[in-house]
């Protein structure tokens, strides 16, 4: 057993510097497409046509991205005339509009300790895996005061992944109902945000918001662990939220 202690000590501290400082280690995040100004007049049409989930819309002579629909297929940046701008980073979590006021009022009550319940509502496994990583030594959510709770009765936050498959509607609803108020729902991944590639259909809904009120959306397919941590931090107002739609930058007037 002493071997394990030594091994642990030799490994040293691996925790990410986030949220105190940005974590720019290579590979922590795949990045994501952002609203882009395009030079060619036909480029926007090409990108809109390329996008399999209608996440791209024409705007201001460029494109805007609906992050809740984006499934990170990279088709807007590979083998295209003009590619969408790809931004590194992971602070992706956005508040849903009606939650903003409620959040502000209640954030103080949660303070620094937060108990999280996770429900898999038909997630593909990648979101599950990324959510699991926030427990690993790199991301170590415990240092931020986040804990997984074994019972919905003591949960403050419900983490949902997946488009909500038919058979998971009831378990999801029941878990939410079993949680005491005040409570927050964080939807993780494109499927939980918009149904992703699966919903809405006969077997899945178009996201968690169809069953329960969602306060924070963490877009991405899958969102990397730091984006999920950002989602939890946004839910308790320890970090500012990002926008769900990345608008095309406005044309700057008078520049050289």
């Amino acid at each position: 057993m002493a071997n394990w202690v030594l091994k642990g000590l030799r490994t040293g501290v691996k925790s990410s510097a986030y949220p105190n400082r940005p974590d720019d280690a290579p590979g922590v995040s795949p990045g994501r497409p952002m609203g882009t100004r395009l030079k060619s007049p036909t480029a926007a049409d090409e990108l809109v046509a390329r996008c399999p989930t209608q996440a791209i819309a024409r705007e201001n002579g460029g494109i805007a991205i609906d992050q809740g629909r984006c499934i990170h297929c990279s088709r807007c940046r590979r083998h295209v005339g003009e590619a969408a701008a790809w931004e590194p980073g992971y602070e992706w979590a956005a508040q849903t509009s009606d939650a903003a006021t409620a959040l502000r009022k209640l954030a103080g009550m949660f303070g620094r300790s937060l108990h999280v319940r996770f429900v898999d509502a038909g997630a593909c496994g990648a979101c599950m895996s990324e959510a699991r990583q926030i427990n690993n030594p790199y991301y170590n959510m415990h240092r931020l005061g986040f804990f997984i709770t074994p019972s919905p009765r003591s949960a403050d936050i419900l983490l949902v992944a997946g488009p909500v498959s038919d058979a998971m509607r009831l378990p999801l609803r029941k878990t939410y109902d079993a949680m005491p108020t005040p409570k927050r729902v964080v939807a993780v991944g494109a499927c939980a945000a918009s149904g992703g590639v699966f919903g809405p259909s006969f077997a899945a809904l178009g996201g968690a918001a169809e069953i329960i009120p969602v306060d924070v959306v963490v877009p991405g397919c899958p969102p990397p662990p730091l984006a999920i941590l950002h989602g939890l931090l946004v839910a308790v107002e320890r970090k500012p939220p990002s926008a769900l739609v990345s608008a095309a930058p406005r044309p700057t007037t008078g520049s050289a």
Binding site: V5, K7, S74, G122, N136, P150, F198, F202, P222
Partner: protein, 540 residues
């Protein structure tokens, strides 16, 4: 007859197999060789299905791969039972054509190898509404109790986009229990767990501390992938193939792309084939590291869990650095690869994987000498070789029970033909055997990556002309969790008519109850982790 039943490998060779079939069945079946697919088509009637499947599995040692049902209006139904054996034998496609008016098929789930057909029959009954005569447990399988009777979503006339009105009724699942001792009770676990676990439900029949048997229930995550793929262009359906099981996205994406390539006669360039091998092994390495993390975690060995989790995360970061996606989404396309590796990427990948292999070796070495850890894995969750064969189990679980089947070795795809692969096999079939197989395969994956990258040829990574055409193909790949079978039928415009996936988790979850019998309650998470299966992959 006895002589014909005992044939050697050479006699079962591709050319002679139809001969063998014809002489054994004397005009009762029609056997033809399909050179293109290297498969022998055997058309038979319902009267001979049983004996034919018995003959293939019991006498000739074929393994059952998948059952593909197609509704073929106006004629009726076509059922294809696909069997495979080894590189010398052709695939055998047993085809059963049924009239539209027929709604019953003989069940073959009670044969010795019947368990491997069992879940396929139940699935078809649920989704197509075809009845399997003689099957003891039909209904309420994929579609749970509150699903309306008589609505079969895989039928042609069912609209996949149509949403069902929310049904308020509370489902009540009452499977037959067998334990009747005084004080016996059934303990439900799931579908929502206290950790980051996938949705599934387990009913543990117990008389106290010891669990007598486990009744699992899946398909909480059924998203109808096969149905919603219908009518979609191939490149859109590829997104579904990748995303129905995100942790094995590359393997399933690859199988789908290979099916498209087989249909359309596309040959990916050699560099693409080599890169596919590299990425497939990178995914396996990551998946096995995740499974090892899960096993360490289930035994509450905290430092080992952290060490394995660090390895897993570094592999995720590595994948992201070289392909732009932590789970390799979007890297494989019909005709080749969507991304290439620079010389620098290759060096980085080689070095990183070499380092990770060393860390895994040192982790295994430490685990080997942790008696408290071994105590919890050894002789826990045993699957015997006989059972593994009759259930047709695949992947590391089968290989830990003495079944040395590996699709990469049997039917080499991508660049596996030029890889020297020895299949790691263990005999005990317990949790520790499964752990050792995971470590051995992870080590081998690292070696394959290094080997393929060292001899990587220059050139394009994508075929020039990808023109889609109508046709059908069945493709097999060795996904991280085992053999995955993808059947695809495209129309003239390259749109999907029928897509059928038999993922390894579907095959192996069926055998889970074998390992979860007569055990102490606290071992349940360990048995679960040593199987390391994915519900997303199983449920589709």
């Amino acid at each position: 007859m006895a002589m014909l039943d005992r044939i050697d490998d050479d006699a079962a060779g591709a050319a002679s197999f139809p001969e063998l079939c014809r002489s054994r069945w004397r005009g009762e079946v029609v056997a033809t060789l399909d050179e293109a697919q290297r498969a022998c088509r055997v058309e038979c009637g319902p009267a001979h299905l049983r004996d034919l499947c018995q003959w293939l599995t019991r006498d000739l040692d074929f393994a059952f791969a998948t059952l593909v049902v197609e509704q073929t209006p106006p004629t009726g139904w076509s059922l294809l039972y696909a069997f495979y054996k080894d590189a010398k034998s052709p695939w055998v496609h047993v085809e059963l054509k049924l009239d539209a008016a027929v709604s019953a098929v003989p069940s073959i789930a009670d044969l010795f190898h019947g368990p491997s057909f069992d879940w396929h029959e139940r699935e078809v009954e649920d989704l197509f509404g075809l009845h399997f005569e003689g099957h003891p447990r039909l209904g309420e399988f994929i579609l749970h109790e509150d699903w309306p009777e008589g609505v079969n979503p895989m039928r042609r006339d069912f609209d996949a986009r149509k949403r069902f009105e929310p049904r308020a009724m509370e489902p009540k699942w009452e499977p037959p229990t067998i334990v009747t001792a005084p004080g016996a009770f059934a303990m439900p676990i799931g579908p929502v767990f206290s950790d980051f676990a996938e949705s599934a439900h387990f009913l543990l029949e117990s008389v106290g501390e010891d669990v007598i048997r486990t009744i699992p229930r899946f398909f909480y995550k059924y998203r109808g992938v096969e149905k919603i793929a219908e009518g979609q262009p191939a490149d859109r359906a590829l997104l579904l193939a990748e995303r129905f099981s995100g942790i094995a996205a590359f393997a399933h994406g690859l199988a789908f792309c290979q099916a498209v390539e087989a249909i359309c006669g596309i040959k990916p360039p050699p560099r693409a084939q080599a890169l596919r091998t590299v990425f497939a092994e990178l995914e396996r390495l990551r998946s096995h590291a995740a499974a090892i993390t899960g096993i360490c975690n289930s035994t509450a060995l905290a430092v080992a869990t952290s060490q394995a989790a660090l390895i897993e995360e570094s592999l995720l970061r590595l994948s992201c650095e070289i392909t732009g996606h932590r789970y390799l989404f979007g890297s494989v396309v019909p005709g080749g690869m969507a991304c290439d590796l620079s010389a620098m990427d290759c060096r980085h990948l080689t070095d990183a994987v070499f380092g990770i292999a060393q860390e895994l070796r040192s982790l295994l070495q430490m685990l080997r000498y942790s008696s408290s850890f071994l105590d919890r894995l050894e002789e826990v969750g045993i699957v015997t070789e006989d059972k593994a064969r009759s259930y047709g189990l695949v992947g590391p679980i089968a290989r830990a029970s003495g079944v040395a089947r590996d699709i990469r070795k049997l039917f080499p795809y991508a660049a596996y033909g030029s890889v020297d692969l020895s299949v790691p096999v263990e005999q005990e079939g317990d949790g520790y055997a499964r752990l050792r197989v995971l470590f051995a395969e992870a080590e081998q994956s690292a070696a394959i990556i290094g080997g393929v990258l060292s001899s990587l040829t220059e050139g394009a990574v994508r075929a020039d002309h990808v023109r889609l055409r109508a046709g059908a193909a069945l493709m097999a790949v060795e996904a991280p969790l085992g053999a995955a079978f993808h059947w695809l039928r495209l129309d003239d415009d390259g749109k999907v008519i029928r897509y059928r996936v038999t993922p390894p988790s579907f095959t192996n979850w069926h055998g889970f109850h074998l390992a979860a019998e007569n055990f102490a309650f606290q071992d349940f998470p360990i048995i679960l982790a040593s199987f390391g299966l994915s519900n997303a992959e199983c449920d589709r």
